[in-house]
């Protein structure tokens, strides 16, 4: 069976195109609205909890050494935690933006 080199080249091109389409599809599911909301809220709440907990722990530890700082560190770290939460949400949002921009680039 003799093969026409032109036909083979066309087949090669078609294979390349198919592979490109395949690559775009394989980057994972697009995030759902609910998924995004869930991600942002957990990031925010978790940071406040961690911050407050950390401050409480420091107060508790210092209390054992005879320094009665309660509740100064908890209050300070609660605010720091809230800031960290916002930092988390901003970071998550920029990751999402980057992912969406990459997706658009591939499609165009």
């Amino acid at each position: 069976m003799a093969q026409n080199p032109d036909e083979l080249r066309k087949l090669g091109q078609r294979l390349d195109e198919a592979q490109k389409r395949h690559a775009v599809r394989d980057t994972g599911p697009p995030p759902t609205q609910l998924g995004i909301a869930g991600r942002f809220s957990t990031e925010l709440v978790a940071a406040v909890v961690v911050g407050g907990g950390l401050g409480w722990g420091i107060d508790w530890l210092l209390g054992h050494f005879g320094y009665h700082t309660k509740p100064v560190f908890m209050l300070v770290f609660f605010v720091l935690g809230a800031a960290a939460g916002i930092r988390n949400v901003v970071r998550a949002a920029s990751e999402l933006n980057a992912a969406m921009a990459a997706e658009d680039d591939k499609e165009n």
């Binding site: 690559a23 394989d26 980057t27 994972g28 599911p29 759902t32 998924g35 869930g38 991600r39 957990t42 990031e43 978790a46 940071a47 909890v49 961690v50 911050g51 950390l54 770290f77 720091l80 935690g81 800031a83 960290a84 939460g85 930092r87 988390n88 970071r91 990751e95 990459a102």
Partner: protein
């Protein structure tokens, strides 16, 4: 009649066992974990066994999951992230199959236990810390120092540290809360079906409505089961990327 929607999450000992004062009983939780690991190992081993050029259905499922995770790692961490393929792939398959096995009636959802998801999340974050220090030495701590004037760093470094410490919590709570909420919702609507059915008369006919809703929620839960496994894996990749490349990504 048991109508408590939270009853499904109770860990019950199947084989009571006590070692040195600790309760190490083999529970429904342990049974499902063993099942999930065995199912994942068996599926991935036997599906690719024939090694055909034109894959069978099973083989193509195994290959698709392999490619899916490999692409995910490659696109979020780059070439050198592929070293962590076994780690991310195991995590992904474990969470995915655990979520799917939880969908089987009368089974048990191990990812609805915070102990399980928190352990997995700690594993991820500890890996990130070990990799970061192994790759950059003490320079890994630069992760906590953003580009800012020195006086501001006094405020920003604690914020970055807290932000880092948030990761195991947000990673584990997200998976745990999604599974817990979904399965509770299913049980609550299941309770409606029973209650309406037992009410008798015209009300019994109404019980078909929550029944249909359960079917819809079931489908949604299948999507959530996959999405949460995906989110867990992709966040692992993102965290690994930071450990590997520090601030390069920004």
């Amino acid at each position: 009649m048991e109508l408590n929607p939270m009853e499904q999450f109770t860990v019950k000992p199947l084989v009571p066992l006590h070692l040195a004062g600790y309760d190490v009983s083999f529970t429904n939780q342990s049974l499902l974990m063993v099942t999930v690991v065995a199912a994942a190992a068996a599926f991935l081993t036997f599906a690719v066994k024939p090694g055909r050029l034109v894959p069978t259905r099973g083989q193509s499922m195994a290959e698709a999951s392999y490619e899916f995770v490999a692409n995910m790692i490659h696109s979020s961490t780059g070439e050198d992230g592929l070293k962590f393929f076994p780690f991310v792939f195991s995590l992904f398959m474990f969470v995915l199959l655990a979520n799917f096995f939880g969908m089987v009636p009368w089974s048990f959802t191990i990812t609805s236990q915070i102990a399980v998801t928190f352990a997995l999340a700690c594993l991820v974050v500890l890996t990130v810390i070990v990799v970061g220090f192994a790759k950059h030495g003490i320079g890994f701590l630069k992760l906590f120092v953003p580009h800012a004037p020195a006086p501001l760093l006094l405020l920003l470094v604690p914020i970055e540290v807290i932000s880092f410490l948030t990761r195991p919590i947000s990673l584990s709570v997200r998976l745990f809360a999604n599974m817990l909420a979904g399965h509770t919702m299913l049980a609550v609507f299941g309770g409606f079906v029973v209650a309406l059915g037992a009410a008798g008369g015209a009300l019994s006919l109404l019980s078909i409505a929550p029944m249909l809703l359960i079917v819809a929620i079931m489908l949604l839960e299948l999507l959530v089961a996959f999405l949460q496994a995906y989110v867990f894996a992709i966040l692992t990749c993102i965290y690994l990327n930071e450990a590997l490349h520090l601030h390069d990504a920004h």
